[in-house]
Symmetry: C2
Subunit: 447 residues, 2 copies
């Protein structure tokens, strides 16, 4: 595969020709872990005010109520459900992360597939296969344009996610290679989402559109809406327009041999991933003998420069801002001994004790530290220093959540949503390979 | 207004505070010319295969059938109608052009307003006012990022159009300044569309999304979906991410004093605007004594380098490609004495006589020539050269279509659509200022 031959066509050819039996078992297993994590975060986000607003916005225009909105009793049309469930799964940035691109890969893809599955019967094996291919498409495109694309200001989950959704639905529709290429081209016409919107409801429009737009892209291709021949690598195609010097080899090389989904990671905490090693360190050090919040004089976190660049935010006022605040994260974790959604509520952020402790937190650059590591040093009023080094944060590639951890995350996040059959949901996802009706999973996330 | 104070907020403040009586009469008149031209091109595009495909794609998910799809008897939900009518109005690139940005300003804005007007009664005066403000928003944002944005590969009608639709619907909803800013932020999260897609159906997805996305942006803001404070001028905001060195003064300077809509232009021919002076020249020279297609030896068009860069396409095969082909345009205009939709059909492009003559056409750069001018020289087999210079193409800013020309364009394009009440439509648009129910106009574009 040379760059000249065309990354778009190579990707489309691969998707069109792919067979379920060519996907290794460990990748299919990772797909189910990703889906469990997806349902966990979608249930957590289901009643966020942004979701209420989005549902109210779409309701007057909604079509046949075929498809489940996760965690809600109302159904809506499949495009709307895809939009809402993608937005909900990502609203707290508590979902999965593809290392290297920081794409949240499942939110744009799984909601499109499940919403569509409720309108058009498909087997669980087919859904898993389409999901794997969708993640492959979005993450490989992301690899080709990273790190410049995100650095420039593109919300890469949204911009690349639409290709993932398009690829997945194209596969379900059994589109041939040319129509799959059209689906990718139709996706390119719809790729959107800005980093500037992070921390606001506007972010969720980009994420929701990625799932919805991908469905339109693939269904449109099936109905004869064609796209350009080189939507990714064309001179004015997606990659060249949104990034400097894309590496197109990363789209096509190793297709069918290496699997991006196998690298997926899951967040143990609903905060920016660079904060996770610091959070681990807080939860460890507060168990040290002699630890006492009241005696803390100062706290220094040392990490990769990204830690400072992304999270040195001493005076946040909302839970959403706090998710990317080192100062709040450290203070809340040390006081509460936890770093769950409760620690990122507006109330917790404005608690006087949390604010007082967060004022004692500072950050230092350690360019030798990997981004998944950090050091924490807590100085007490008797001069003692409690210190620890976390090399690989919980949930990172080298220290992944176990299957049991992911199930526990799902149970924790499902608990506040009344009427959810968690055991049924967990069972349905683990046995999805053999399900004849993939859409039936959604029964378990409807109260 | 300095750049520091914030172009986004300045624009939102202006939109929220704007009063219909502050819009000069000549601008309101231009709005009606733009709407007449819009209905002309939307009727022309209503039965394009891309519209059939888009309608089929959306149909299974369509909501309450409140809103008219121009030129069709079926109605659909307002978001879908906005999408389809925007796509249809621009499908031939036969719509209006804002000089400088090459935005087609009406397609993203008018369809959103009319679709919404059929769900929520609004006066014609309010619709016209919202339309003027929407065009102001999209064209001023376009001015700030031109020419770099389009040159980079962004389909500026789609990317800026979403702000126009958002601003127009925000005004109809009477959003305050903060919520109008949120609408612009929600629009920024949805801005998409690539030049790579031109000439394919994928282009229409971007244009359709601009109208639909702007509605979502404004309705979402009304329902509480907030956006960032600086969606346009933020470091990772729309302008900085999609263009080099935006000029933010062009967004805010002169708001309420200068009106971008007043500069709007309308195409007499369904082809790239750089081809229009050449087309004028063809139609003139074929009336010269002694002109005979059979005796033509060679034809040379000289123009601004953009003429060559955009339209030197000697071997096109489809009507859509032919719309940006100098060779086909010259050949068909000289043979047929016309340059309407009929000259840009696939059949006409593949006609042997047209192809033979197009092989005799070449292009020369004349860097002194303005983009709206061109020279044409036809050499006959007796050595005679028929020559003419067009300084300002018909339809350009200095040689605009008259009101009667626009009415004639509408009559011509409405004629093939069965059951359209053209006289009623023309009357309804010219008297829109005094209409109590703006949505009633749509009755005239339904067969």
């Amino acid at each position: 595969m040379t760059n000249e031959v065309g990354a778009s066509r190579a990707l489309a050819d691969f998707i069109a020709a792919a067979r379920p039996e060519d996907v290794p078992e460990r990748v299919r297993h990772e797909a189910k872990r990703s889906l469990l994590n997806f349902f966990a975060v979608a249930l957590a986000g289901a009643h966020d005010p942004v979701l209420d607003s989005a549902l109210a916005t779409l309701a007057p225009f909604a079509g046949p109520a075929t498809s489940t909105v996760v965690g809600r009793s109302a159904r809506t049309d499949a495009l709307g459900a895809a939009f809402l469930n993608a937005a909900g799964a990502n609203v707290f940035d508590y979902d999965d992360t593809h290392p290297g691109t920081v794409i949240h890969p499942t939110a744009p893809v799984a909601p499109a597939l499940f919403a569509f599955a409720e309108t058009r019967p498909m087997s669980g094996a087919d859904l898993i296969h389409a999901f794997v291919l969708g993640v492959e498409a979005e993450c490989r495109i992301g690899n080709a344009i990273s790190p410049g694309h995100y650095a420039r200001g593109w919300h890469i989950t949204s911009t690349c996610g639409v290709f993932g959704s398009a690829a997945a639905i194209a596969k379900i529709l059994k589109l041939d290679a040319r129509r799959t290429l059209d689906a990718l081209g139709n996706a390119a016409s719809q790729a959107c989402g800005l980093v500037e919107a992070l921390g606001t409801g506007a972010k969720s429009l980009g994420v929701g559109n990625s799932a919805r737009g991908g469905m339109i892209a693939a269904l449109g291709a099936a109905n004869g809406i064609g796209g350009p021949d080189r939507p990714l690598e064309g001179v004015r195609g997606f990659a060249n327009v949104t990034a400097e010097k894309p590496n197109f080899g990363k789209i096509a090389d190793g297709l069918g041999t290496t699997w991006e989904l196998a690298r997926n990671t899951y967040k143990p905490y609903p905060s920016g991933v660079v904060l996770h090693p610091v959070t681990d360190a807080c939860l460890m050090l507060r168990r040290e003998p002699g630890f006492d919040v009241a005696r803390i004089v100062s706290i220094v976190a040392s990490g990769h420069p990204l830690l400072r660049q992304r999270t040195d935010r001493p005076n946040v006022r909302t839970g959403r801002e706090a998710q990317v605040s080192l100062q709040h994260t450290v203070a809340a974790a040390l006081i509460d001994g936890a770093a769950g959604l409760a620690q990122y509520s507006d109330a917790r952020v404005n608690d006087p004790a949390v604010r007082a402790l967060s004022a004692k937190v500072s950050v230092a650059d350690d360019p030798m530290m990997p981004v998944e590591g950090a050091k924490l040093a807590i100085t007490l009023d008797d001069g003692r220093v409690l210190e620890t080094l976390v090399e690989h944060a919980l949930g990172s590639e080298k220290n992944p959540l176990s299957d049991a951890d992911i199930e526990a995350k799902l149970r924790m996040l499902a608990a506040p949503v009344a009427g959810i059959d968690v055991d049924g949901l967990i069972g349905a996802v683990w046995s999805l390979d053999t399900a004849t009706d993939a859409g039936a999973v959604m029964r378990h996330v409807r109260p």
